[in-house]
Amino acid sequence: MGHGGGGAMSAELVESLFVPGYGEAAATELGDAAVLPPVEGRLAFSTDSYVVKPMFFPGGSIGDLAVNGTVNDLAMVGARPLYLSTAYIVAEGTPMEQLGRVAEAVGRAALAAGVRLVTGDTKVVDHGSGDGVYINTAGVGVVPEGVELAASRMRPGDRVIVSGAIGVHGVAVMSCREGLEFGTTVESDSAALHGLVADVLATGGDVRVMRDPTRGGVSATLNELASASGTGVVLDERLLPVPAEVRDACGLLGLDPLQVANEGKLVAVVAAEDTDRVLKTMCAHPLGAEATVIGEVVADHPGVVVARTGIGGTRVMDMPIGEQLPRIC
């Protein structure tokens, strides 16, 4: 049912959707504040807001992203995620049926990730002040003893691993945006990665740093790591795991697959001698089955990410500027 034409959508009304939608993933009471049991170890704490359009896309929805995104941000610092808060900003006129589907997706994703939804909030704004649903999630997790992941630990010679095919999520979202079709049926690969991360850390291999290459793709992530670490990164274009459908879609859209957003993928920088061990462990996990080494850390060109082309040339991978502006004059 839609509330656009009828009476005002109220926060209470909307809230009544969430508890059933969340199912078992929710704490019995979704209060204004949650009191939680003591934890062993260092706390990790993260927050992120989700504004993806459209709200539903092949393979997922904004609900999955809101859970997996924050879970993954916690996982990337090596934390085991424990609790999430969910806060919604809903535009007046958003169909209640859609909200219900979003809530169910949040519940399902939280259950799958093994995190509890412990507190939340909802605001309704005038139609025109917003559009559809925005979700903020915050999460806490606990970081095991001895886990220290930081860009500053990167050293020349380290290998760069990506946990699977890149560009899939971004292309899935774009494929249904604004009614454009490009003959592809790529589905988003959104997933919670903390299980994969736990397996990787359990190898004892020296993982220097991990990131989930979401907005701006692998390119933005590696640029951030290169700047933060003062090292250079060299990728080999021939090693990049880009599915044919993603390559074709990017060819049409004029995008570089390295700049397309991912969910459910991680980039790990690993000491060279531990690379095989880490890679084998990743490949044994369902979310890392296609993990592969794509490049290495170098001392040359600090702060700059370079892709080696098939013919022995180099292409500098700049920090994406957000918009694809033609440069060919």
Partner: protein, 827 residues
């Protein structure tokens, strides 16, 4: 006073500025003084050549007149100032002082030029001690910029510093009567650099000169690819008549279709390959590559420059090149025409260091013909296009020309301009002179970015300048802009961003010394970032306030570009979108046939939803659209390929149908404005060659011009912004394409664009009260369009103003950026 029997004696002191170092200027002065029996001295310093002479008044006057009038062939005298004479005792006979460096305003580095006739005569004279010496040179020829490490230009500051002259060379070097007096790169077999032949893994195959040449010539004749170290860097050479060798070079360089330049042994050989048109250009000391009409049955394989009807030809420009074409010691003769293409990996800069070349070109070259004279400044070949109607049109201004300056005027600021993203050059302004670097290239690769930074450092070091401002484009995605921002921050100076087409027009004004005057200009270009954050490229701008401001008075209407640069690489996509936007269904059109199902459904979505494409006013994209609709080119693998092939198609048709290319249906004929006067008319617009009236087979295509309100136009500019709607032209071309001769249609769209643009310019001139129209932007390297627009403007009584020095394309952009920034700070 009573007349004495003695002639009156005078003493005078001069300072000669310009390109006066490294060109034999002091020897020339000394020879004159000797001939006239004058006492005195001259010296090079870092500012100029200074001369002081004394003697009979008539002889001194004669000397001063002849110093400039008979200046050496490579000298360019900018100015002569007279100073008060010194009181020191003058040497007699006249003497040359040693160089001294005064850290002031610097003279200019001369460009690299081809061996002069006398050096060539020595090269082929068995009796001469420099017979077959691969480095023969004198004060009138040879390498300059490429071997210069610092100023003042002196042996010690060149890459020959480590080669100690033998006694005989030293004697020539110090003899004022000798042609090699103070010729800095002087050498001979005994004391000079040496050539060597290496294989692809770097091992030495031969090092005795004749052995090296023998084996190199044999290898080329056998179809091998040889990396040749020339003047400004390495080239990849192979037999231009050997299809297997050319195909191997294309495959290894991953360069499927972009034309290769051909080095012809001599003018006669060149004449068999192409219609020489303007032999003086090919044979000039600058030795550019010149694009000329290919001859049918030319003795080279078609894959060298496929499908264009033109070949880029260059004559040998180093003694080593000449030796490759001469018969060897054993009497063997190699091919008379060699493919000579830049020694680089696709999109990377020219290799010029030996280790670097060996490493990077190992997968391309079979052999390396190298030598041990280091290259200090890499210099790419210059490229000019030529046609009867337009004369030379610069595509790339580099070896032979760089770094000759453009005078901006008097003003202190030191400016460094970062240039464009593709076809990059860099400009340094010092003491009111803008020095434009040679071609740097496309800044996509790490190596190119390093080359860009190195060129800047080198130019600043040469000029001992620290910049007061760094200029760049405004494009948020340009590396050159990010570089400028970072460097300006690092130096603590201002960063001035200059809109792309403003810079193009300023470059034109700068090279003509017109920065101070209001100028209307048609800037027809590929893509540049506009002031409204859309992509521009079909602009009618007015430059004012000394070049600091450009107003957009008119432009081409929207041509939408799907998928950014991917749309540029696939003209059929841009064409399909343009057809849909113009209300034409794709079925049955050439782009419609070319598109994949996925492309077609995607583009229909883009057309329907109005999203997924950049809005552009780009003439280059419109030309792409028309090329695809006519079926000339749907996808490109090198820069401007569709536009180049469309022009070639039209030019071929014009050659086959002389007299049919009438500017028919010409709307401008309705508004006669009197006869053409001024520079444009003098520039050889031979409009009389082109008969008027509707010609058989040439469709008359519309290009509507409509004034449209545009809020970005400043008030009081005489009316709303003028917009040329491209849709009628797109529709009409699509309607004509199924039945028209493609060549005739290619010509017709050129004419339609020219007529529309001329109309746009004329309407703007009327509003602004100006009569000169600048023609710039990359589209104006299209000689046919340049000719048609210039002719049309001339007929309307307007004066077209075109580039003579810097290219109309992005190679000239750094000059424009520098000029605007310099003006901004000088005023």
């Amino acid at each position: 006073a009573a007349a004495s029997g003695m002639a009156q004696t005078v003493r005078r002191r001069l300072v000669v500025r310009g390109v006066v170092q490294g060109v034999g200027f002091r020897p020339h002065v000394a020879r004159l003084a000797g001939e006239l029996g004058l006492a005195g001295w001259c010296r090079n310093d870092s500012t100029a050549v200074e001369i002081e002479v004394a003697g009979p008044v008539g002889a001194v006057d004669a000397m001063i007149g002849r110093v400039v009038a008979e200046a050496p062939r490579l000298a360019r005298v900018a100015r002569v100032d007279e100073l008060d004479p010194t009181t020191r005792e003058l040497p007699s006979p006249f003497a040359i002082d040693d160089s001294q460096d005064r850290h002031g305003e610097l003279t200019m580095i001369p460009p690299d030029t081809a061996p002069c006739e006398r050096c060539l005569a020595e090269l082929s004279d068995p009796a001469d001690r420099r017979y077959r010496h691969p480095f023969v040179t004198c004060t009138h020829c040879g390498p300059r910029l490429s071997i210069t490490r610092a100023l003042p230009y002196d042996r010690a500051s060149t890459t020959l510093a480590d080669f100690a002259m033998c006694d005989r060379c030293a004697a020539e070097y110090t003899d004022p009567a000798d042609r090699r007096y103070h010729a800095q790169p002087i050498s001979c077999h005994d004391c000079g650099p040496r050539i060597a032949l290496r294989d692809a893994d770097g091992s030495l195959l031969a090092e005795a000169t004749e052995d090296v040449l023998e084996r190199t010539v044999a290898a080329i004749a056998d179809g091998r690819i040889v990396a040749v170290k020339g003047i400004g860097g390495y080239h990849l050479a192979c037999d231009a008549a050997n299809a297997g060798a050319v195909a191997a070079l294309r495959a290894r360089k991953q360069r499927p279709s972009q034309p290769f330049a051909v080095m012809a042994a001599d003018l006669e050989t060149a004449g068999a390959l192409v219609d020489l048109g303007c032999p003086e250009l090919l044979d000039s000391p600058e030795r550019p590559i010149v694009l000329l009409p290919a001859r049918d049955g030319a003795p080279i394989c078609a894959e060298v420059a496929p499908g264009l009807g033109e070949t880029g030809v260059v004559l040998p420009y180093s003694p080593l090149h000449h030796l490759l074409f001469a018969s060897t010691a054993s009497g063997r003769s190699g091919p008379r025409a060699l493919v000579m293409t830049s020694g680089n990996i696709s999109s990377e800069p020219l290799c010029y260091r030996d280790e670097d070349a060996l490493e990077r070109l190992a997968g391309i070259a079979d052999l390396f013909l190298t030598h041990d004279r280091p290259i200090a400044v890499p210099v790419e070949d210059s490229v000019l296009a030529w046609s009867e109607r337009t004369g030379p049109v610069a595509l790339r201004r580099s070896r032979g020309y760089a770094p000759l300056p453009v005078e901006l005027g008097a003003g202190r600021p030191v400016v460094i301009a970062a240039g464009a993203e593709l076809k990059n050059t860099v400009t340094v302004v010092r003491d009111g002179k803008a020095f434009v670097s040679g071609h740097v290239g496309d800044l996509e690769s790490l190596a190119s970015r390093e080359a860009h930074a190195r060129v800047v450092e080198q130019m600043l070091a040469f000029h001992r300048a620290s910049p007061g401002v760094v200029a760049s484009d405004t494009h948020p995605g340009y590396t050159s802009r990010a570089w400028a921002q970072a460097r300006a921050g690092g130096w603590g100076v201002r960063h001035v961003e200059v809109q792309h087409h403003h810079a193009h027009l300023a470059s034109l004004a700068a090279e003509h010394g017109l920065l101070g005057e209001d100028l209307v200009g048609l800037v027809l270009d590929g893509t540049g970032y506009g002031c409204d954050a859309t992509i521009w490229g079909g602009e009618l701008l007015r430059l004012r306030d000394g070049g600091r401001v450009a107003d957009r008075l008119g432009h081409l209407g929207a041509v939408r570009l799907p998928g950014g640069d991917a749309g540029v690489r696939n003209p059929c996509r841009t064409a399909a979108l343009a057809l849909l936007d113009a209300g034409v269904e794709l079925d049955g059109t050439a782009p419609g046939d070319e598109l994949t199902d996925a492309e077609a459904s995607y583009l229909r979505g883009v057309a329907r939803t109005g999203t997924g494409a950049s809005v552009t006013s780009s003439t280059g994209r419109l030309v792409d659209v028309l090329a695809s609709i006519i079926g000339v080119r749907h996808r490109i693998d090198h820069d401007a390929q569709a536009a180049i092939e469309l022009e070639a198609s039209a030019a071929r048709w014009l050659r086959a149908n002389p007299g049919l290319g009438g500017v028919c249906g010409d709307r401008s004929s309705e508004v006669p404005r009197g006869s053409a006067k001024g520079e444009g008319a003098a520039e050889g617009d031979r409009s009389s060659e082109v008969p008027r009236g509707s010609a058989k087979g040439v469709p008359d295509l519309p290009f509507a011009l409509a004034p449209v309100d545009d809020p970005t136009t400043p008030q009081g500019e005489g009316g709303p912004t003028l917009v040329l709607d491209p849709r009628p032209l797109v529709r009409a071309t699509a309607a004509a394409a199924p039945t028209a001769d493609p060549g005739a249609l290619a010509f017709a769209v050129h004419r339609a664009i020219a007529a529309g643009m001329a109309e746009l310019a004329a309407a703007s001139c009327e509003r602004t009260g100006t009569t000169t129209v600048g023609l710039t932007g990359g589209v104006f390297v299209n000689r046919l369009l340049l000719h048609l627009v210039a002719t049309d403007l001339t007929r309307r009584g307007l004066t077209p103003l075109r580039h003579r020095l810097v290219p109309a394309n992005d190679g000239g952009l750094s000059l424009g950026q520098a000029a605007v920034a310099w003006r901004t700070l000088s005023m």
